[in-house]
């Protein structure tokens, strides 16, 4: 037994390794990314780990290995499960042989996501069991339980941590021994091929299984009912920690129901909790999942218990809960005085600090190029998911739409159908191109759609922390595979107007974009330049104060964080500059130059 300071995601990885996982697949996405990275880093040698091209592929690869009896884990963020939902829904009917855990990290807030969707609902929808850890330590142990339940019931299970569990460090006790999986391999059987008749039969079995699992979960070690009184709190995940903190702060006690398995709901244990209670406050984030289950149970058993929560506006409907918000709600519920905070009221006006493209980022040059090329023309710029979504900020303002992975290309096609006279651009990054961009390109070519595709190829999956992808040729097993060339893919699909350009060569790139915009049909420009985090800075630039007139064109055109306005002059912060040179190209007075 050793103690280690681990992030929740690392704890999940270590727990999976200990449980004998044999195949781990996934697609990067905050707050889930470090799980798969940790398995790769701490791989004892026998585990196959891959970043798959997208979540659907990841889930299917893992399912195949689980058919053959291996323990498998798939990792993704909540919106990734939307992409993987097709195989997941069918797999719920087919089932697995080796334990299969689908780890889906939810992001209340949202802090780094498009939606505040609740994966516990996906459990209800797919009828798959859901595990919801409340701390990194618990996650380490719970992932092992998840594998065991998966094998016991022959079904994939969902493991749903949230950001504060994923990205919090805690002291975790690591066990020495690892579970060993012995498998006889894939055994041919009609049960592996889905047909309507089989689905009907399996649907019946799943409905029989649901209450059995709920009963089993009623005695599950991380579900608990503690305390007593006429009032009760029900909660799950990180909110359990907030409730413990609140009760301690308020010096209060009451009955507490901790739900570690929100689906199928542990009804028997819930009834024990509800016994003798008059009122319940349900504290949870995202959707009122536990709350609805309790309301349902009270109706089913005609219990005279009032249930409060999100549905009654006692808990906020959107955003992340905090210790304060939970303490306030609990104090009100238990009729305790709310702790009064003396917060500073006269804070000076603070500078606004939204995330921005890094100094030297090639995306800035690419966006600026397209903006210049389209000056005076009607154009709409559809963006996508990645660092380049930040191109929407001032002064670039080059992301008019952003929806979900791969949608930029197809949204642009719809916009074109509505307004053919407008030039429609679609920006997509390299990793997103491989993830779900290619079908959109085929759709445009097949349907003869006149749009301009801009691929921002920085040779990495930058936003989530520089993961490799098919275009980099590096794999998570440390091997080198053939790099898949975006240029060759587009060319093979039949893109006739196709140019690769260096975004830092403004003059040349502007001409390339203008040519692409004038082309009828799908044209494509690949802006190719590596993410600055992958390369050393080139010679750093500085402002010649003699020549600088203080026109601030470099600032108002580019919005680079390394360029700072000081009174009426401009300065380049040498600790941030990467020497990308575009400010020097933009300066009308030749006042910016490179220094060694």
């Amino acid at each position: 037994m050793t103690l280690e300071l681990l992030m929740g995601n690392q704890a999940i990885a270590m727990g999976a390794i200990r449980s004998g996982v044999g195949v781990v697949t996934g697609y990067p996405g905050t707050p889930s990314t470090e799980i798969l990275e940790t398995v790769a880093k701490r791989n004892p040698g026998h585990i196959y780990v891959e970043w798959s091209v997208n979540e659907k592929s990841a889930l299917e690869v893992a399912a195949g290995a689980a058919y053959a009896g291996l323990r498998t884990m798939v990792t993704m963020k909540q919106v990734g499960l939307n992409v993987a939902s097709d195989p997941l829904m069918s797999l719920a009917y087919i089932g697995i042989k080796g334990g299969m855990v689908v780890v889906v990290a939810d992001d209340p807030g949202p802090i780094s996501s498009q939606t505040e969707q609740d994966t516990r609902q996906f459990g209800v929808f797919s009828k798959l069991p859901v595990f919801d850890p409340s701390s990194p330590e618990e996650a380490y142990l719970m992932i092992g339980d998840a594998f065991e339940y998966s094998e016991k019931y022959g079904t994939p299970v969902i493991f749903r941590p949230t950001t504060r569990v994923c990205h919090g460090y805690a002291t975790v006790k690591l066990a020495e021994n690892c579970y060993e999986v012995k498998t006889e391999g894939f055994i041919k059987d009609p049960k592996w091929a889905i047909f309507p008749r089989l689905s009907y039969q399996n649907h019946l079995k799943i409905e029989v299984r649901q209450p059995v699992l709920g009963e089993d979960f009623s005695s599950y070690r991380f579900n608990s009912v503690l305390g007593n009184g006429k009032k009760g709190l029900a909660t799950g995940g990180i909110n359990y920690a907030y409730i413990c903190e609140a009760l301690e702060d308020l010096n209060a006690e009451c009955k507490v129901f901790k739900v570690a398995t929100p689906h199928p709901f542990p009804e028997k244990l819930a009834l024990e909790f509800l016994e003798g209670l008059q009122e319940v406050l349900v504290v949870e984030e995202l959707d009122p999942v536990i709350e609805k289950e309790l309301v349902y149970l009270c109706g089913k058993h005609q219990l005279p218990v009032k249930i409060y929560g999100k549905l009654t506006q006692h808990i906020q409907n959107a955003g992340e809960n905090t210790v304060e918000s939970v303490t306030r709600a609990v104090a009100k519920f238990l009729e305790r005085p709310t702790p009064q905070l003396k917060l500073p009221e006269d804070l000076p006006a603070l500078p606004v600090r939204p995330p921005v493209l890094c100094a030297g980022c090639p995306h800035r040059a690419s966006f600026y190029t397209v903006k210049q090329a389209m000056k005076g023309q009607k154009a709409v710029f559809s963006g996508d998911i990645g660092c380049y979504t930040l191109g929407n900020a001032k002064p670039l303002e080059m992301v008019d739409t952003c929806l979900c992975m791969g949608a930029g290309i197809t949204i642009a096609q719809g916009l074109h159908r509505a307004q053919p006279e407008v030039v429609n651009f679609a920006f997509i990054g390299d990793s997103t191109f491989f993830h779900s961009g290619i079908p959109g390109v085929i759709n445009a070519i097949y349907n003869d759609t006149d749009i301009v595709l801009i691929v921002l190829d920085n040779s990495t999956t930058a936003m989530t922390g520089h993961q490799p992808h098919p275009g980099t040729g590096k794999t998570m097993m440390g091997s080198i595979s053939e790099k898949i060339s975006i240029n060759k893919v587009l060319s093979a699909l039949g893109v006739k107007q196709l140019v690769t350009t260096d975004p830092f060569n403004l003059e040349q790139s502007i001409a390339v974009v203008q040519e692409a915009a004038a082309f009828k049909g799908l044209s494509a420009v690949i802006f190719k330049s590596p993410c600055i985090a992958l390369v050393d800075p080139a010679s750093i630039y500085s402002v010649d104060q003699e020549k600088c007139t203080g026109c601030k064109r470099c600032i108002t055109e580019l919005g680079c964080p390394a360029i700072v306005r000081e009174n009426n002059t401009v300065r380049i912060d040498p600790s941030l500059c990467y020497g990308c040179s575009i400010c020097a190209q933009v300066c009308p007075f030749d006042a910016i130059g490179g220094v060694k």
Binding site: L3, L5, M7, T30, P31, I111, S112, S135, R164, H167, G168, Y169, A170, T171, I238, A241, Y242, C244, E245, E248, D249, T322, V323, E324, T327, L341, K342, L343, P344, L347, P348, A349, L350, P351, V352, R353, P354, P355, V356, L357, C358, C387, L390, A393, K394, P395, M463, T464, I555, T556, G559, C560, P561, I563, V564, R565, N567, S575
Partner: protein
């Protein structure tokens, strides 16, 4: 229990600083919990880490007005996190302001002075770290996080000693960065010792 908030701008090494602090506390037999900002905000946005060290800790997030220490990697970010500070808490702040793009684009003229003045008049215990001098000593700007850790540890407000952090650095950082970071830790510590405790 010691509650510490580390607040700054994405890219300043806040996650590493909080991890080193937590690791040092853990080695000392304390229980630790942290909450980190990882993801989109890392691109030059506001980053806040919560570090809690003690016996029994429930939440990874520190409640408002409960932080013993706020380590501000930047003056405005220290002020932004002041609602977390206990009345008797200590603020350790880097003097160097980081101007956001939004400021350069607008007519406001943020330079950090107003923030330092505000901290001076509102904090019982304030240590301003002259980061420029430390950068000159160390020859790099990349060590701000370690210098601030050094100042906080030397001021005796972390519940973790300078020696604890020193051995954690030796144990956890890659060999080629250890000397530079130890130098920064000591340079920061001198500030922390010299200015303990104003107010």
């Amino acid at each position: 229990m010691i509650n510490c908030i580390l607040a700054g701008v994405g890219g300043q090494g806040i996650v590493l600083a909080s991890k080193l602090m937590a690791q040092a506390a853990m080695t000392n037999g304390m229980t630790v919990r942290t909450a980190e900002t990882i993801g989109m905000a890392q691109r030059g946005g506001c980053v806040v880490s919560h570090v809690r060290m003690g016996k029994k800790i429930h939440s990874p997030l520190i409640p408002l007005q409960s932080a013993d220490v706020v380590i501000g990697f930047e003056p405005a970010e220290a002020v932004r996190s002041l609602p977390y500070l206990k009345e008797t808490g200590t603020v350790i702040v880097s003097r160097k302001a980081i101007k956001p793009v939004t400021d350069s684009l607008s007519d406001t003229d943020y330079n950090g002075d107003e923030m330092l003045k505000y901290l001076g008049s509102h904090c019982l215990h304030l240590i301003i770290v002259d980061t420029k001098a430390i950068f000159t000593t160390c020859g790099t700007t990349k060590v701000l996080n370690i210098a601030l850790l050094g100042a906080a540890a030397a001021a005796g407000v972390l519940g973790v000693s300078l020696e604890d952090i020193e051995s954690t650095i030796k144990e956890k950082l890659p060999q080629q960065f250890i000397d530079m970071n130890l130098k920064a830790l000591r340079a920061g510590a001198i500030t922390g010792l010299k200015e303990t405790i104003v107010g």
